[in-house]
Symmetry: C2
Subunit: 343 residues, 2 copies
């Protein structure tokens, strides 16, 4: 099994040179005579030698391995980010390991220990809106970690989190969505999902309110429901809103935090006898692979997650300290339609 790996010494004696020379050809240094290089390469070939990245790491103090922390790979949104990051890392010769979100916000003794012991060359963290108390733990963990390795954040990061990051301009996106709906004549537009505290200029609520203001519509508290980003939460939220409102006040359009929430909302609408998009337009965010296959196909926003992941890796390795904003694209499908005035 992993016992008898051949070492640089084996190659050296096989090729009749010193280990330093082997090391030189291994790392492609130029000051090796062609003849020697050839001899060494042959020996490597013959003995099927693969240098140990472990030993290499010990001296070079670099492991060529990166880590990524995200809340839940089962949400394809994160799977896309991971994929983009992994592929980019791979291209650049790095390995990508997944660490669970719990590595950060547990209050166990130094949750980040495992990350530090691994001596990663960098860490990507997909931040998630979290309740205040967890937030504190996360910030603390991140600040510890950054003393040991570069850290890049993905997602909307409060401005006081002083980290390089790449995120979608959710505010602009949301403003555009609201505009999209108001132009279709919608005036009762609900926004479902997310957490309450929202002072980040990039974040959704900012754009939502701007969008409403653009159309001279009032902000109506009962059309804003907070909650987690799952389908169940989405369904529960819309259920609650509809059940709590007289029918004449029911929204004609609902914007969901993400496609999962949108799926829950569609479910809820269906159960309340609302036709989509006839009585209720629904728009999601993330453009998951299943969005086009829902009934009706779900209008959503593609936020270029793979590209986001890849870009995060680039920032990580280049050491640039900037915050970047990613592109996004509104994918118009059948779940949104002009408001139905004729009833």
């Amino acid at each position: 099994m992993n016992s008898d790996h051949t070492t640089i010494y084996d190659i050296a004696s096989e090729a009749g040179v010193s280990i330093a020379t082997v090391s030189r050809v291994l790392r492609g240094e130029t000051n090796v005579s062609p003849a020697t290089r050839e001899k060494v390469q042959q020996a490597i070939e013959r003995l099927n030698y693969r240098p140990s990245s472990i030993a290499r790491g010990l001296t070079s103090k670099t492991t060529h391995s990166l880590g990524i922390i995200l809340p839940k790979l089962l949400n394809p949104h994160y799977a896309m980010i991971f994929t983009g990051a992994q592929e980019e890392a791979r291209k650049l010769g790095y390995t990508m390991s997944l660490f669970p979100w719990a590595s950060l916000d547990t209050d166990a003794y130094n949750p980040a220990a495992m990350l530090i012991e691994r001596r990663l060359d960098g860490l990507i963290v997909c931040v998630e809106y979290s309740p205040k108390d967890h937030d504190e733990l996360v910030r603390e963990a991140l600040n510890t970690l950054r003393r040991y390795m570069p850290v890049v954040l993905i997602g909307c990061v409060p401005p006081w989190y002083d980290f390089p990051a790449v995120a979608c301009d959710n505010a602009a996106m949301m403003r555009r969505i609201v505009q999209y709906l108001t132009r279709m004549g919608h005036e009762k537009i609900a926004l479902i999902g997310g957490v309450k505290e929202d002072t980040d200029p990039l974040r959704r609520d900012v754009g939502y309110e701007k969008g409403l203001a653009d159309a001279k519509l009032p902000y109506t508290a009962s059309y804003r429901v907070f909650g987690k980003g799952t389908a169940e939460a989405g369904k529960a939220a819309l259920d609650q809103m509809l059940d709590g409102l007289k029918r004449e006040y029911w929204p004609t359009a609902v914007i969901a935090l993400n496609d999962l929430v949108a799926m829950g909302c569609m479910q809820s609408a269906r159960e309340h006898g609302l036709g989509i998009p006839e009585q209720l337009s629904v728009i999601g965010c993330d453009d998951l692979f299943c969005a086009p296959y829902l009934t009706p196909p779900l209008t959503s926003v593609n936020t270029r997650q793979q590209q986001t992941g890849a870009r995060a890796v680039q920032l990580l390795l280049s050491g640039e300290q900037k915050r970047e904003t990613t592109d996004w694209e509104l994918m118009e499908r059948a779940s949104c339609a002009p408001v139905h005035t004729g009833i």
Copy 2:
């Protein structure tokens, strides 16, 4: 940054002992006096010391890191497997890194090199049905890799692949599915997706034919379409089948390789004016998170992917050489119904 990690020497001098002693308390050996242990622990605390897993790995010849290779994380099926594996690995103190499928079936010079250089403690490979030529490359790569690290396979592995593995008994599952449909009166049952060569007793075609035989139904070649496991492929396959058959021969039920394919089939059916489940029952496999949110909710088979991933890790680390078969459960939803004879 990752510069000045404190080392075991720092701790030793801080605590006024030798590095051997520090190492002992680090690894929890018992032959250390309580007083000394305390001194060392205090020093560790004070200097915020984290041992380097790299240096440790050099001597101990174990990296505590595992790898997993899978075709496509964007398919939630694999994301579930990954998640299960990652969580189990983490529990056991291991790190899990993702490597792309291309690490195996590229014909580039030794695609597995990166894996070997990393000195992984084990590797999980989710095999995918692949065309014959690729298959050869994969087998070769796997046989190289196993010389360096234990390898466990996930998925249906041809019997001549001599590896420990954990897989769902697709044949039994498929037989059950066919039975489920025949009991509803279906006689024209299509099977869509997968590759042609199928002599593995665990694999779908075997069960499909058994299931038909159980009900004394003939195997009809035109009801069996091969293809990739994507929604697009599923749609194309059913399109082709329907377009090539007179309406009276159209199947009344279709079994899809997986939920993605099923989603494509539903799309195709819809476009051909077939109501689901009135004119066509559809059943998928994998029970993706979105299955309940499709219209109609998709009947599928839950194959316990997370558990599968976790089990693979256990096999990997225990060194057991057996092949295991996983549970599965038919999730009845609305996309299947008794055949509609009344027309």
